[in-house]
């Protein structure tokens, strides 16, 4: 391999300085019987041009389609300036800002990211990012359990089924009971909630929920608070340009996925999780926090702060084990919202809403009504005539993925198609999709 810098001459000079006759001497602490006596059995090396050809062929083996699938991973307009700035090596090839004097760039961008999350969610404090939305929700559960001392959490069936699965996975080893709260007419059933709420650490709900429906957020928060629990909102940050923030409505924790405003879908990652809370929960917040301070000459600057919560100091008593997070994607989120600004963000959200409603009316007129009456934003559930899978199968050969077949999720809804409309879809695309779906309806 020629790309490594050490030449035969270098090795000779270095070994001589070390006082070793050959490289093998440096490996003498390793018992010989456990040494690998052959080369790793991997495909032969590829020079750069061949590598590009090979990996491009793999990328080409994916089939792009006109997609109406959202369900937690969203395609939106991504301003060119986002990748332009995030590709800078100063951001890309630095690490966690352990030496703040030479990391002010990263630190300030994280502080600005925290601010954006605080503003959008209406919370008092946000951390420097989580891995993604599901594990952020799970960490929010730990916060609520620790704050209340109650080892039980309520999860609305309106929460993304895979996020729910993550929460269950994290809860199980800790003996935290996860109780599901069913939906009624597309939104969380208040009656069912009241039955189970009494001894829970809190409720996680999603706004808008997985099926696209807008929940009665004040009602959910009040019910959880009334029983002494916390209210945890799982939110799409773009929705917060037009929907009231969970913080303003009194929720205690907001957790969510910021991919929609930061990164391409990239088959699910990386995105960027966020976690924000009220001031009273600040010391239970996991992960990194950046704070403003001053240097020895009084100049403003930033540092990682409240680190005593974290694993490298508190070890087994830490609030979480998180170390590496999603800093570069958090930066992409910050650049995106900065490029759009508050009005651009509202425009983007509004356009997606208008286009989704245009398609929904169109489908309804063609005999494909919504499954639920609740208000929605850019995602809605169509009640299909016959199995939803038939619509997917029929439209895919035409290069269109008409939505998510809800027969594939838990619990299955075989005649449900979850349709997402990005602001990037044109009227022509919407009309075409609607017409093709009508054809399927007629069989």
């Amino acid at each position: 391999m020629s790309r490594l810098p050490l030449t035969a001459h270098d090795r000779e000079v270095m070994l001589s300085r070390i006082g070793a006759g050959n490289f093998e001497e440096l490996l003498r602490p390793i018992p010989t019987d456990i040494r690998l006596s052959r080369a790793l059995d991997l495909p032969p090396p590829l020079a750069e041009a061949a590598l590009v050809a090979h990996v491009s062929a793999l990328a080409g083996a994916n089939t792009p389609v006109l997609s109406f699938v959202g369900a937690g991973s969203y395609q939106h307009f991504r301003p060119a300036v986002v990748d332009y700035l995030c590709g800078r090596p100063e951001f890309r090839t630095a690490y966690t800002p352990y030496q703040p004097e030479v990391s002010q760039g990263t630190l300030q961008t994280i502080y600005e990211f925290q601010t954006a999350i605080v503003e959008l969610t209406g919370m008092d404090v946000a951390n420097a990012s989580m891995y993604e939305g599901g594990s952020a929700a799970a960490e929010a559960v730990f916060m609520a359990v620790a704050a209340t001392g109650r080892p039980c959490i309520l999860v609305s069936d309106g929460v993304h089924p895979l996020v729910r699965r993550v929460v269950e996975t994290y809860a199980h080893p800790n003996g935290i009971a996860v109780r599901r709260v069913p939906l009624l007419g597309g939104t969380t059933s208040m009656a069912a909630l009241r039955e189970v709420v009494s001894d829970a650490a809190g409720l996680i709900y999603q706004q808008p929920n997985f099926f696209g429906c807008i929940e009665d957020q004040p009602g959910l928060i009040e019910a959880s608070h009334g029983a002494g629990g916390l209210a945890i909102a799982s939110v799409d940050p773009l929705s917060l340009a037009i929907l009231e923030s969970p913080g303003a409505l009194g929720a205690d924790i907001a957790a969510g996925e910021g991919q929609a405003l930061a990164a391409p879908m990239s088959f699910g990652g990386p995105g960027v999780g966020f976690l924000a809370c009220k001031q009273s929960l600040i010391r239970r917040l996991p992960g990194r926090l950046v704070g403003a301070t001053a240097d020895s000459q009084g100049r403003p600057g930033f540092v990682l702060t409240l680190q005593a919560r974290e694993q490298h100091i508190r070890r087994q008593k830490a609030t979480s084990n998180i170390c590496t997070n999603q800093a570069l994607v958090a930066l992409a989120f910050l650049v995106t919202v900065s490029a759009l600004g508050p009005r651009g963000l509202e425009d983007m959200a509004t356009q997606a809403v208008e286009k989704a409603h245009y398609l929904q009316r169109n489908l309804e007129a063609r005999g494909l009504p919504s499954a639920f009456d609740s208000p929605f934003l850019w995602e809605f559930t169509v009640r299909t005539k016959g199995p939803a899978s038939a619509y997917v199968d029929a439209l895919l050969p035409r290069g269109i993925m008409p939505g998510l077949d809800l027969g594939t999720i838990d619990p299955p809804m075989t005649d449900g198609l979850l349709v997402y409309v990005s602001e990037l879809r044109t009227r022509q695309e919407l009309d075409q999709a609607a017409a093709l779906m009508e054809e399927v309806r007629h069989g």
Binding site: P5, L6, L26, I30, I34, L36, L42, V55, L58, A61, A71, G72, V81, D83, L85, R92, Y95, T96, Y98, Q99, P100, G105, I110, Y111, E112, Q114, E119, E132, G134, F142, P173, I214, I242, E244, S245, S266, F267, G268, G269, P270, G291, T293, S296, R299, G301, V303, Q316, N321, C323, T324, Q326, A327, V329, L334, A339, G341, G344, E354, P375, V392
Partner: protein, 485 residues
């Protein structure tokens, strides 16, 4: 000169990008949204034009040290070069445009890449199966401990304790707590290795797993690994390897061959994916055959015809540790890295890392205390005790190094070394580069002797001098608030 907060820049009404005109009937938002659901206040977000936006972030970027600017010997973090071609490959539209819930027939390329990466990582580790789902090393640890717990539960008893050496990363005990295990810490022996007698004393039928970093955080290979694995397995416990230091072992030793049952890898360390200022990373978990049933869902399955699909039918699985399937774009980079190097190339990586570390140690070792001797693997730990007697702490020396255009080593870790400096040069640094860092460190050692005040006041040439961490923690200011707001 400080860069202002972006929320202070610009002017009301400015924006950097536009959206196209709405091409469907509009103006319905008020009718669509219930009044109570509508946001009442406009969030305070930046209002800047595109050039202001670019200048802000370009100026901020200039305040960072990074691998492509200079030496970055942060021990345990493996700050190696990040090949630019991998950025290009991760950005291929076929990858970036794929939705995680598309049917398998649309995403054969992504699935195949993941399946092949799993195979390659299993071979590198000498183990059986891989999950690519964990988003970072600590997330891989967490997943691993969940798998350990599920394994023991399946045998009728989840067991109670995780044993961890006192030299371990803080994430190890934190991860153990997150899955409901108690942590037992054992002291290292005078050579900095696992003390077998101490291990024997705490190992029992309630031990779920022994978590070991190999080479350990002192940069030393645990040469009694075979005895360790026999002791651990004799009690029915599992042996976990924290693979943060895998950069020392590629093609030299495979964890599975030394008795480890499971290991997490940090793709952003060993496999060259960029650290991104703190992420995104990726922390695949590699396990032995008996642990495979417990891995997160879904698994990738290869059909008879050579195509791939998701397999959700895994009744013993722990569940899911993230919503989707892993940090896919990071996986593309790691895949490309391994494909570029091949088996022999990976072995050269570790040889280069070990050679550079030992060379650097030879160049600087006699000017510092070296608490544990012997050839190191890919990194080594010095102690600043000698300098402390002159009133200069390791923190001071770290800050002084910043003035010399290099990043400081990891300091005060592992916690068993007083005034510790953990130095990892990586294989991508040339001999001249290693020598240049050695000169910088020796200059600091000289300054400690001749002009300690100079070191104590460092850094001088960085964008800011030392920051007041006490103030930051006493009066946390974690989000900008507009004056008067």
């Amino acid at each position: 000169m400080a860069e202002r907060i972006i929320y202070e820049l610009g002017s009301k009404g400015r924006r950097a990008v536009d959206l196209p005109e709405l091409d469907v009937p509009g103006g319905n938002l008020d009718a669509i949204l219930p009044a109570g659901a509508r946001r009442r206040t406009v969030p305070m977000l930046p209002e800047v034009d595109e050039l202001e936006l670019i200048r802000h972030f370009v100026r901020l970027s200039a305040l960072n040290h990074h691998v492509e600017k200079g030496f970055y010997p942060l021990g345990s973090c493996t700050m190696k070069a990040n090949p630019p071609v991998n950025e290009v490959l991760a950005s291929l539209p076929g990858f970036t445009g794929a939705h995680p819930l598309w049917p398998a027939r649309l995403i054969q390329g992504s699935l195949r890449l993941m399946a092949e990466l799993e195979c390659m990582l299993a071979e590198i580790c000498g183990l059986h199966a891989v999950t690519l789902q964990p988003a970072a090393g600590a997330h891989g640890e967490l997943t691993g401990l969940m798998v350990v717990r599920a394994y023991h539960e399946n045998r009728g008893n989840p067991r109670k304790r995780v044993i961890i050496p006192d030299s371990a990363h803080g994430t190890n005990p934190a991860s153990a707590s997150l899955v409901g295990y108690e942590t037992v810490e054992i002291k290292s022996d005078p050579d900095g290795l696992v003390d077998l007698a101490a291990l024997e004393r705490v190992l029992d039928e309630d031990t779920a797993v022994f978590m070991l970093t190999n080479p350990n955080t002192l940069g030393l290979f645990e040469r009694r690994i075979c005895q360790i694995q026999k002791m651990v397995h004799a009690k029915g416990a599992l042996l976990y390897m924290d693979g943060a230091n895998m950069n020392a072992l590629l093609g030299i030793v495979r964890p599975g061959d030394t008795g480890f049952d499971l290991v997490h890898l940090n793709l952003h360390k060993t496999f060259s994916t960029p650290h991104g200022g703190g992420g995104p990373g990726s922390g695949p978990l590699v396990v032995s055959k008996r642990l495979e049933p417990f891995l997160p869902v879904p698994r990738i399955a290869c059909r008879q015809d050579g195509t791939y699909e998701w397999d959700w039918d895994r009744p013993q699985s722990i569940g899911k540790v993230m919503t989707w399937w892993g940090n896919f774009a990071v996986l593309v980079r790691a895949y490309a890295y391994i494909r570029a190097l091949g088996g022999a190339g990976l072995a050269e990586v570790s040889e280069g890392a070990i050679l550079n570390a030992n060379y650097l140690l030879a160049l600087v070792g006699d000017r510092f205390d070296l608490p544990y001797s012997g050839p190191c693997m890919h990194e080594f730990v010095l102690s600043g005790d000698r300098q402390k007697k002159r009133g200069i702490r390791t923190l001071d020396m770290a800050k002084r190094l910043l003035d010399k255009g290099v990043h400081a080593p990891t300091v005060y870790f592992p916690i068993i070394v007083s005034e510790g400096m953990m130095i990892e040069p990586t294989e991508t640094e040339s001999r001249e580069s290693v020598e240049s860092f050695a000169r910088a460190l020796l200059e600091v050692a000289d300054e400690v002797e001749h002009d300690p005040d100079l070191v104590h006041g460092a850094p001088y040439t960085t964008p800011v001098s030392r920051l007041d961490e006490t103030r930051a923690a006493r009066q946390p200011d974690l989000a900008y608030k507009r004056r008067g707001a």
